[in-house]
């Protein structure tokens, strides 16, 4: 019997959540970091949303946050003109990397040896985390603020999206641009899937899929409302998108058919990401919350429990409860 999705709301932030990222799967499960305009990024257990800790130190809104694969290190980009690297187990600040303007994006290489940053000063920077006092390598070219910068192609190349309406692919060794994609409107988000080298770019109401190696277009899908972020399921059968109409949309990647849509957030959705095992996706919103949504609604996973009809009348039923109906304005 089809069931109604019960999103799990993670509270704690006091301002809009603007970015989120999952770690890889570790022996202790997987983890989620959220960037918030309140300046206090938080680490949570990925499958339950349980708060683990808050990284304290930034003096301004945090615009970008990421975890390394093992969830042992975190990096954040903030309006206080710094990018910080943190120990994600103790919560201690390890490095503070000064920039000349607001930093928007941070990304680790696979071995966590280098950090890529990008922001309002239009320059991509590569920091060697073993030599934090050394000057970073700098790559110029963008003519407007950089929104997102990611390593790709086994860290041999870099993808960057900026307010100059371009997405550029750079070669790390030569520091030269390899290819540029020009758009008519600002790109709102970018996600890179290493397995399969797929790049997901959102702009206007469009979710576009590219081959990350040559930046060749694979397909585009149009949504009913302006989209701020999209994420492709690890098995590449679904993708989810969220944007200005406060809703989350789930599409079939192959047929482009809209499968489900969910109301729940009380403000525009700024970021959405699938978990590394694909069992859930997390969304961050202007309303200051993160919500976790099931990919397969009704499945027992994390805090969600599949309850069979006979279990509902058993003595243990008082530990289980359905969601209270959402108040829809």
């Amino acid at each position: 019997m089809a069931m109604r999705q019960t999103p799990l709301t993670c509270s704690g932030h006091t301002r809009p959540v603007v970015d989120l990222a999952f770690s890889g799967i570790t022996p202790y499960g997987y983890f989620l970091i959220s960037a918030c305009k309140d300046g206090k990024p938080m680490l949570r257990q990925g499958d339950t949303g349980d708060w683990i800790g808050t990284f304290l130190g930034h003096k301004g809104a945090v615009w970008g946050a990421t975890l390394n694969k093992e969830a042992t290190k975190a990096a954040t980009a903030a309006a206080d003109f710094t990018a910080k690297v943190w120990d994600a187990v103790t919560g201690d600040e390890l490095l503070s990397l000064a920039h000349k303007h607001i930093v928007k994006s941070v990304n680790f290489t696979q071995d966590s040896g280098y950090l890529l940053t990008g922001g309002q000063d239009k320059i991509l920077r590569i920091y060697d985390l073993c030599k934090p006092d050394a000057d970073p390598q700098e790559i110029s070219g963008h003519t407007s603020a950089i929104k997102k910068a990611l390593w790709c192609n086994e860290d041999k190349q870099i993808l960057s999206a900026a307010d100059d309406k371009t997405v550029r692919l750079w070669d790390r060794a030569s520091m030269e641009v390899v290819k540029t994609l020009q758009f008519d409107t600002s790109v709102s988000s970018m996600e890179y899937i290493p397995d399969g080298e797929i790049l997901i770019i959102t702009y206007g109401k469009t979710v576009a899929f590219y081959n990350a190696l040559g930046l060749d277009l694979i397909k585009t899908v149009d949504a009913p409302a302006p989209i701020n972020s999209a994420s492709l399921h690890p098995d590449k059968d679904f993708f989810v998108a969220g944007g200005d109409d406060f809703k989350l949309y789930k599409y079939d990647y192959n047929t482009k058919e809209e499968l489900e849509s969910y109301k729940g957030h009380f403000g525009p959705v700024h970021c959405v990401r699938f978990s590394p095992d694909g069992e859930l996706y997390a969304s961050g919103s202007e309303d200051g919350t993160l919500r976790l949504w099931q990919t397969a609604v009704g499945k027992t996973y994390g805090l969600w429990k599949c309850v069979l009809p006979e279990e509902l009348v058993s003595e243990n039923s008082d530990t289980l409860y359905g969601s209270t109906p959402e108040i829809k304005a």
């Binding site: 069931m3 509270s11 339950t48 349980d50 304290l56 042992t72 103790t90 919560g91 805090l303 429990k305």
Partner: protein
């Protein structure tokens, strides 16, 4: 319209509980969690005993001295006024009572906070950046 009516009629998925939020009193990163204990030993690990045994013995002696000195410093702090510098620009004074065996929590009395004096409190050691007290100060009963 049909889609939303159908959705309302469907049973919602049950949840065991809501995700836990921040506890409001600390920055988290529980040092007693499995992950923390496995990845962050709370002591500086000593050299492998297979290394040159003379160096090893000397290192152990130094560790013993330092450990004893620290434990005696805790004893010297009992019933004295201690000044704690903590994260988030928190600076508080309190009368030290005792530490737990793992030096994870300090039991204090008369904790002076901006909200008033807390008669009895536990201060989590990972939240402390530094603390200081005067050895010659009088005891606070």
């Amino acid at each position: 319209m049909w889609k939303s009516l159908r959705a309302q009629a469907m049973k919602p998925v049950c949840v065991l509980r809501m995700p836990r939020g921040p506890d409001g009193s600390s920055r988290g990163f529980d040092p007693t969690s499995e992950r923390y204990l496995a990845l962050c030993p709370t002591t500086i690990s000593s050299s492998d005993s297979a290394v040159d045994s003379a160096t090893f013995v000397e290192e152990q002696k130094a560790r013993t001295v330092l450990r004893e000195r620290y434990i005696r410093s805790l004893l010297a702090m009992v019933k004295k006024d201690v000044h704690f510098t903590m994260y988030e620009r928190v600076k508080v004074n309190a009368v030290f009572g005792a530490s737990d065996i793992d030096i994870l929590n300090f039991q204090v009395s008369d904790l002076q906070t901006p909200l008033g004096v807390q008669k009895e409190a536990l201060i989590r050691c990972p939240d402390i950046i530094s603390y200081s007290f005067s050895i010659d100060a009088g005891l606070k009963d």
